[in-house]
Symmetry: C2
Amino acid sequence: MGMVYGIDIGGTNIKLGIVDKDGVIQKEGQIRTRAEEGPSAVISRVLEWFNSNRGGRSDSDIIGAGIGCAGLLDRERGFLYSSPNLPRWDNLELGKLFSERIGVPVVVDNDVNCAAYGEFLFGAGRGANNFICITLGTGVGGGIVINGRLYRGETGQAGEIGHMIIKFDGRLCRCQNRGCLEAYIGSAAIVERTKEMLKQESSNPLLDIERLTVKDITEAAREGNKLAVKSLEKTGIYFGIGLSNIVHIINPEVIAVGGGVSAAGDLILKPAGETLAGHVMDEKFLDVKIVPAELGNKASFLGAAMMVFNKKQDE
Amino acid sequence: MGMVYGIDIGGTNIKLGIVDKDGVIQKEGQIRTRAEEGPSAVISRVLEWFNSNRGGRSDSDIIGAGIGCAGLLDRERGFLYSSPNLPRWDNLELGKLFSERIGVPVVVDNDVNCAAYGEFLFGAGRGANNFICITLGTGVGGGIVINGRLYRGETGQAGEIGHMIIKFDGRLCRCQNRGCLEAYIGSAAIVERTKEMLKQESSNPLLDIERLTVKDITEAAREGNKLAVKSLEKTGIYFGIGLSNIVHIINPEVIAVGGGVSAAGDLILKPAGETLAGHVMDEKFLDVKIVPAELGNKASFLGAAMMVFNKKQDE
């Protein structure tokens, strides 16, 4: 049976999998990205991993590769304009570079779209006709499924929900605009907010203001630290505003929430759900199910691989 | 050739048309709504109009009717939960009432969806695969076409862009939330803002604070009245924030802008376009064309009628 390589290129790690047409992951693993070595060296290490891990499969068993990558892409051409995670990989024929080395067709798409497609086929969005997969992390992104098909928008940029403005004169975002959702719920914003709150306190036994991550805040909250709980609750309230906007515009059946920050679970999702409920103009909008993503960091390479198998129906 | 009745029920007027399968309007007109007379009397007057205006066509020439109506609807059942325009028409079997009287199948949908469908087929959205039709008036609404099909959302409520929050602690909206787009660019908001500005001035020769409408403000602006120009410019800036959110989420090809307030044309659309351009996170989002709607108040009855002809492919 033909297999496809699934590749999710992140800023720190590359997640890899060998996937069959039913979405079964035959083998999976992870290597360091080390983008600074340049695309050619990175591709060599990716291929090395596949060659060492494909077992008895011959070249002819591999019928394609799917690549998920954060950044601004021309999917048709497999062209990467720029990626926040991969400095100096600008204006790169990413698809072509891979396909020349692997000798099979390569599909490239935004990592968030790939994750949404994976969750739609095999995870939290299974069976939902209208589905949104949100990733919460350094960036806040969304992948959209409409009428059972991944919707990418006219130029492939749909779903940039992190840059939806929820307060037009609000906090400065790294995109240089003010009031973007990401400026309130991206991991940097959560850390910054918590630091501001810590400065109001004399001392906090669980949180070190000098070395603070969302993971630290989440752990402290789970141990009952009130400040940490409060900070994540505020994050959830802002997220709920964003959800309210999404729900009023798209009226989806299911919204799945993944990404590193989502590990906070109900510490964020509960206040988010309450805020959403308090902001819908009609309760029919609350028919939406808001659920955790199910596939973790497999979602993106799996979705990318499935785009190769489903290329025809996906177009 | 079979004809369809197109009916657009507004709070003040009902727009009516007899439409053929190519979307050619054979006859059109308008009657007063007078919702207070109750559905039965209103339906009688609608049918009277059609009977007087259908020329030599017999009953068997009429194969269906499409109704556009503001409000919360169950499209499948043709059921009207409530309409802001039709007080006391709550929980009404609108489709059934009509079909029993006309004796042909009746389709009911939200008036904004109907207008979007009309503009998509024959107006400003012709040929666009991903298209949004925005109506600016008392309410601010949107109809969405995705992959060449009207997208209604999971429970039929998609496109409620007027209740997208652009400032979470902002102006109070008539939906009781704070910071909705409609609270900044709905006609009541424009009038209120202009009144606030007028209070800062000793007197204004063109604007009567006691009797002020968006039409007055638009006319004064066209005559060069600086305050009126400024007020519409502010409206345009807020609208641009809303457009920026829509564009980041949906990334459409064309956005058409209609509704009474849109008569202000470039007085609103120019600052809106500039604001949008200043807020996109990448210039690819600016591939969107923002254009005036083309069909005026024909859009909704025409779109409603075409839903009858295209029922199969529209589902």
